[in-house]
């Protein structure tokens, strides 16, 4: 349940909405890029091992 925000409700909620969305997007993109990079490294290591 939201607290009583009075006449500034739109400002407060939009500030929280935008900020939390940006933080979540940053974390998700960081983790996704990291997983891809680590998969790329595994593949490169396998190829390097195979090629001797």
């Amino acid at each position: 349940m939201l607290p009583e925000l009075g006449k500034y409700a739109a400002e407060v909620i939009s500030a929280y909405g935008v900020s939390i969305a940006m933080l979540l997007a940053l974390v998700v993109l960081t983790l996704r890029r990291g997983r891809r990079a680590r998969a790329t490294l595994r593949l490169a290591e396998q190829e390097a091992k195979r090629d001797g």
């Binding site: 500034y8 407060v12 500030a15 929280y16 960081t30 990079a37 490169a44 090629d51």
Partner: protein
């Protein structure tokens, strides 16, 4: 063990793997606690009404936007002086986190400023230096992407980081330097300790600031690991291509 031993990527990654679970957990806990406490558990301010709740986002984000640049500055200096690749990659890894913090500070500042100052934006010294810091972040990231040779990119971005540090300092101290503009002075002066925030607002704000700081450190550790993986994969591919 010397701190320089962590310039070795293997040792850095081992340290990173040990500390990251704690960092992510503590960061998530502090950010959630600080924001939930601030949003649901604090009263309105007598003059600012409920907009005071924006402080739990605006101040920690602004603090980390500036501190991220200082961390990049230290890492860049280590690269320029000692040529440790991990430090250059750590600076590169920190920049996108810093730019998001800067955008959050600018956006929440505009949203807060509109009802309090009657304007979304003013060419106030602190706001302007913060906007320039944001542009430096964009330039820094673009320069890393534009230069193909990683060592050259690290050199050029390190120099850019040194130049941009002027605006990071101005972002923090513009109010003291010029003593004009709409933006108030800092509510939490670290040097003097004489904060102007009442306890009821201060405790959730402090937790939120700690949370944003830990989140930054956790992400820099993780993203530096990502950059090391990409660099190593590229080196392996280049070696394979050289043999073929």
């Amino acid at each position: 063990m010397s701190i320089w031993s962590y310039a070795n990527p293997v040792k850095f990654l081992a340290l990173s793997a040990r500390v990251q679970p704690v960092l992510w957990g503590a960061a998530g806990g502090c950010v959630c606690l600080g924001l939930i406490w601030g949003f649901f558990g604090t009263p309105d301010d007598a003059r600012q009404g409920s907009t005071v709740k924006i402080i739990y986002l605006h101040v920690p984000a602004a603090l980390m936007a500036i501190n991220a640049w200082f961390m990049m500055l230290v890492a860049s200096l280590i690269w320029l002086i000692r040529r440790h690749h991990v430090s250059a990659l750590a600076a590169k890894a920190a920049a996108p986190v810093g730019v998001v913090m800067t955008v959050i500070a600018l956006v929440t500042g505009a949203i807060w400023g509109q009802p309090m100052w009657g304007t979304w934006w003013a060419w106030d010294p602190r706001l302007t230096s913060f906007l320039i810091l944001f542009l430096f972040y964009l330039g820094y990231i673009a320069l890393w992407e534009a230069v193909e040779d990683p060592d050259t990119a690290a050199d050029l971005t390190s120099v850019l980081c040194l130049v941009g540090s002027v605006f990071a300092i101005l972002s923090r101290y513009a109010v003291n330097f010029w003593n004009q503009g709409l933006h108030q002075g800092t509510s939490v002066p670290v040097a003097t300790g004489g904060r102007t925030v009442a306890d009821v607002f201060w405790y959730p704000l402090l937790i939120s600031m700690v949370g944003f700081g830990l989140l930054f450190i956790a992400m820099v550790f993780y993203r530096t690991g990502t950059e090391i993986s990409l660099r190593r994969a590229a080196a392996l591919r280049a070696r394979s291509d050289g043999k073929a």
